[in-house]
Symmetry: C2
Subunit: 680 residues, 2 copies
């Protein structure tokens, strides 16, 4: 309920004002009464309703208003006598309604008469507060925002794609609307008004926002097409914009025209900033009716309507979602790898997008430069690529190639921070949906790798990226320990694959223990002389490898590092041991790299997950009766889940450069069916 507006009328004078349907006007009678006044009476049109209160203490006199108007016979005037005035219907003419108060010294002696002329209007700023893609009429919850299926509140997208195909610029950086197609990335707002053909002179409608919100939003209106001749229309098209800017960060308040009668004006709201450390994503837009206060005085807002939006978060897509396109680089030396990927992707029925050398300039780490995600609203949903601050030779790819119509782009620039290898997005993953001690994460949880918080030195993901990820809220991140690795990416020791049972997925972890267990059993079974890396210069027998004590110690250390992460993942994702599969993978520690580790043979956990089809780095493990013991072990671990293992030779072109299949590829996936605003 809107509190009544205090209005002044005066004995011997005529006051004119606009009344907004749904509000109440409040007149303190003894203020405007002549000083020696004792009694008063009230008379008004049938279109006007009033009630009189003689102070909180005294009982209030409420009046019905029968057609033919209403009259209140003389009453005693008290210090706190107040008249409350309201109307039910919008006026057709300016000042077509009237209320007058007569003041008496005693019931007969008339001292004066105060007259009030009223113009009633209906005003409502409307949005899609019920999230069905349609702007409803005056939703009672439009001014607030609530999460959940029973929640409410409109949604705004950051207009981070680029409608223009020739001129590359984020639409959100353009202060005007140059293409009608751009409107679908904005949230519609409708200004509904009903009243006389024009407002009384000096009255205005004004949209306004606060300074802090203005950094995150822009509002455009539709310029009403002029009536009359074609010439007039052509001139208009020539000299006036179809969608004039009303609000932006320079212009916190802007007038919107009042269109007479029963009208609906379309407005378009454009998000220009993602939620971040200093922005919770909520934006309020106000519409005020301004009353003139006379020459040279600022107009007074006499009625304000509010609506609230939340800017949609950037959402990541886990391995369990259906792939759409697979991205991989073509380099001078990866022909066979490319061929293998191509056949896997095409046989799986997905699109393959190859980034050619002129664009990747030899940078093959497609996983590391970008992360695919999307933004979603009831009216529009588009993929959005997050561009890593890594910025090696693939730097231009996301902006120059991916950004386009209905394909968004977002990035963050480090402020006085050194970018490290941990800022590559092989170090940014997301889990499938999980439930942890009853708390639901229907969009999964983001996973990043950092240094131990207890070590003063050590590499980290830059603060700007971490702040951005945390601020999206809907996939609450988990920080793992990945600084123990030379490259330092979480995808070097973990991944997720779909599973038909349990939680719908398995967490795969690299495990030196599992590796040693496998190799020891090979020795016991008399295959100690079997060779890893057969035919390569690195060729070595199982017995030789198992007898290397230093190597053994290194892998004990690595297992401890992975176990530390294992405990965190179990806790933060609510996993049991049965949800985790340990893959037999051995690591090597490089003293010249500050004792950091890397996979000894191709890191099989660093795989490409395409539905049930897995593209796994070919490990070149010990050959036992013509088959690779490591491949055999992988099959025996994963095939029972209905997964198909394809082993891809990335030895020379990736593994030797400290990366594998996953590092060298990237997958755009379908969005979740679950809509983010339904989060509890």
């Amino acid at each position: 309920m809107i509190p009544p507006r205090t209005l002044r009328i005066e004995s011997g004078e005529t006051t004119r004002t606009i009344y907004v349907i749904g509000t109440e006007l409040r007149v303190q009678l003894n203020r405007c009464a002549p000083s020696q006044c004792k009694f008063f009476s009230i008379k008004c049109n049938p279109t006007v309703q009033f009630r009189v209160e003689a102070g909180a203490s005294a009982a209030s006199v409420a009046m019905a208003t029968p057609a033919g108007g209403s009259f209140l016979s003389p009453q005693l005037l008290t210090k706190n006598t107040v008249v409350f005035i309201s109307m039910k219907l919008a006026s057709e003419l300016v000042n077509d309604s009237k209320l007058s108060v007569r003041f008496y010294g005693n019931k007969s002696e008339l001292l004066g008469n105060a007259v009030l002329h009223l113009t009633a209007v209906e005003i409502s700023l409307d949005i899609d507060a019920d999230r069905d893609g349609i702007v409803e009429r005056n939703n009672p919850n439009k001014a607030s925002w609530k999460w959940g299926p029973n929640g409410h509140g409109a949604i705004l997208l950051v207009n981070c794609d680029c409608e223009s195909t020739f001129r590359k610029e984020l639409d959100s950086e353009d202060e005007e609307i140059t293409r009608v197609s751009d409107l679908k990335d904005m949230s519609k707002m409708i200004l509904r008004t009903r009243g006389p053909a024009v407002l009384p002179e000096g009255y205005k409608l004004s949209l306004h926002i606060s300074r802090s919100h203005a950094e995150s939003v822009r509002v455009f209106r539709t310029s009403g097409k002029p009536q009359g001749s074609t010439l007039k229309y052509l001139l208009f098209k020539l000299f006036q914009k179809d969608y004039p800017l009303v609000l932006n960060k320079e212009q916190l308040a802007g007038e919107v025209p009042y269109v007479g009668g029963d009208s609906q004006q379309e407005l378009f709201v454009e998000g220009i900033r993602f939620p971040d450390k200093d922005f919770d994503g909520l934006i309020t837009i106000n519409l005020s009716l301004l009353e003139p206060s006379g020459q040279g005085f600022p107009e007074t807002p006499i009625y304000t309507d509010k609506v609230m939006f939340r800017v949609a978060p950037w959402i990541m897509t886990p391995n369990t979602l259906k792939p759409v396109e697979v991205f991989v680089c073509s380099t001078s030396d990866n022909y066979d790898f490319l061929k293998a990927i191509k056949s896997l992707v095409q046989s799986s029925g997905y699109k393959l997008k190859i980034c050619h050398e002129y664009m990747n300039r030899g940078d093959r780490w497609m996983q590391d430069e970008i992360e695919f995600g999307y933004i979603d609203s009831p009216h529009q949903r588009i993929p959005v690529v997050l561009d890593s601050p890594r910025d090696r030779e693939l730097e231009d790819f996301p902006y120059d190639v991916l950004l386009g119509p209905d394909f968004g782009y977002v990035t963050r620039y480090p402020v006085n921070e050194r970018v490290s290898s941990l800022d590559s997005f092989g170090n940014l993953e997301v889990s499938p949906p999980v439930t942890v001690n009853g708390k639901k994460y229907p969009l999964g949880r983001i996973i990043i790798g950092v240094a131990f918080p207890t070590t003063a030195h050590g590499r980290n993901m830059t603060k700007v990226i971490q702040d951005f990820l945390w601020a999206q809220k809907v996939q609450e991140p988990i920080a793992l320990y990945s600084d123990w690795l030379v490259v330092g990416h979480v995808d070097e020791f973990m991944t997720f694959v779909p599973a038909p049972d349990r939680k719908g997925f398995r967490l795969l972890l690299a495990s030196p223990d599992a590796g040693y267990k496998l190799f020891r059993s090979l020795q016991v079974k008399g295959h100690g002389s079997a060779k890893l890396f057969q035919g390569k210069e690195e060729e070595i027998s199982v017995d030789e490898l198992m007898s290397n004590e230093e190597f053994r110690a290194e892998n004990v250390y690595v297992q401890n590092c992975i176990d530390w992460n294992r405990d965190i993942l179990k806790k933060e994702l609510g996993l049991d041991d049965e949800d985790i599969i340990d893959l037999p993978i051995l690591f090597k520690v490089f003293s010249e790299e500050d004792n950091r580790a890397a996979a000894y043979y191709p890191d099989m956990v660093n795989m490409l997950v395409l539905g049930k089809n897995l593209g796994i780095p070919k490990p070149f493990g010990p050959q036992v009766r013509g088959t690779c013991a490591l491949e055999a072990e992988m099959r025996s671990l994963l095939e029972p889940l209905g997964l198909n293992c394809t082993f891809i030779d990335d030895f020379a072109s990736y593994h030797k450069l400290l990366g594998e299949v996953h590092c060298g590829s990237n997958v755009r996936r379908e969005p979740f069916e679950f809509r983010w605003w339904n989060l509890e």
Copy 2:
């Protein structure tokens, strides 16, 4: 419940680790078992407890551990067999407890033996989470923060006073503790440990904080006094600090010594930053036990304890609180004013502090340069002055004079914003405690003045100050419209006075309508010729004044502006008309000042409130039978509330300079009895 820690043991090897009381160690048996192992058995000291689980599916075997140790006879080893190990008491010697697992091919054939040596320690980082001023032992809620009388969570003060009397510097800007007296402004933290005389080699205790929290906090420890000779002690005093710094923004992790046996180490936490737009006031401090991972590898945190603090907000004090000291400036031309104030303050029994000319340099607006408030915690409470960015000639007063031992100081510097008259703190007030539609504000609500949000131009309070005020949370601010005034301060049209009834106070509002009503009744009663400003050059009769139509129009406009604020105040403070008193005050609009207004005669609402005694600007109203009609009206409005009106002549020295008594004074008041952390 802390999730168990994964631990590796190995057949044929002896593993040593520290066990922290209250946790559980988790050993995956088949990982460390020889590959052909079928059965296993377990043996341990009486000090150790264990239980065995054979996968989530299989039933778990739990073992009691009778004195004399415990033995689990050979069991079948499954893929998921896990042993959970715990202990009840801290060890007295390193590795004084032992558990061993034997592995069999079949029940007779022994394949190997894995031995685990355990050292049990008790570790707890403790704070005053129950807010009674005493650090309790291991409060279960210490890691989180909850508002309300049934809430929990420790409290931190910004160390914004200055212990040193000769060297002026905020203690929070000093990276070390130079005075023991400074400790009482900090929150005590106690590190309780129990265990052997020393930790096994390579183990360490480390305190650490996140990068974002590090900007807001510092941690010191007490350096253990050395045992033995006085000489030793003296050398120590010479070369070592009593309170070494452990954590600050440069040092996110720092070692704290482990003191053997049953020990309690005192730590001191210093707040250095008030809540603000980018800081919610919550700070987490972590203590981790680090395990060595061998030469050149970073230590692994194997146990982490957390505590949470909230930085105390800055709190303002309304007129209804008991005064302590009154501040006023002495200038070359305000002798009589000063005398009047002095007698009022002293007869009321409060301290008067005069700021002399060498310090105020002619700037008499004591209200505008500073706002008095305080910060509060269970262990310490001090007054804190907020220094306005106004910075006129009084600029140095708050820092040079007020800041001192147990008197804090805080300010904010505008970032590329112009400071305006609205940044003076005559434009910053606070209401008494109110309840609004059931919502309690036991500390009242802050009130500031700004321009209409609907006007693109217009003056505002700088964003940095507004952000600071909103971020304090406990006195949720209300923004009024004050830009219609030349000076633009809310104290030009409103104040609060104590009252014995209703809500315990009245809101006083300047009211041109009330003024006109009074003067018109004077005319009716035949006093139209009575003079305002008698004997002054401004002298004018009531009739002359009332006949000035332009003046009348200006006051109608002013009344509209005040009524707009009246409606806001009624809504935001939950007031009825009976809670508001309209004071007869007329305004004048100055066209050369962009049509902004100022009080026509001394602005009686701009008063000094000292309990029941009010220092009111002497209005120089029309003399009726030797008494001033305005003074008489004020008495008749306020004396029924038990208030005493003293009218103070500020005409020449303040009113003519567009200020009054309130603008020219300031009051430090006693804090609320209500403690802010009890807010719901």
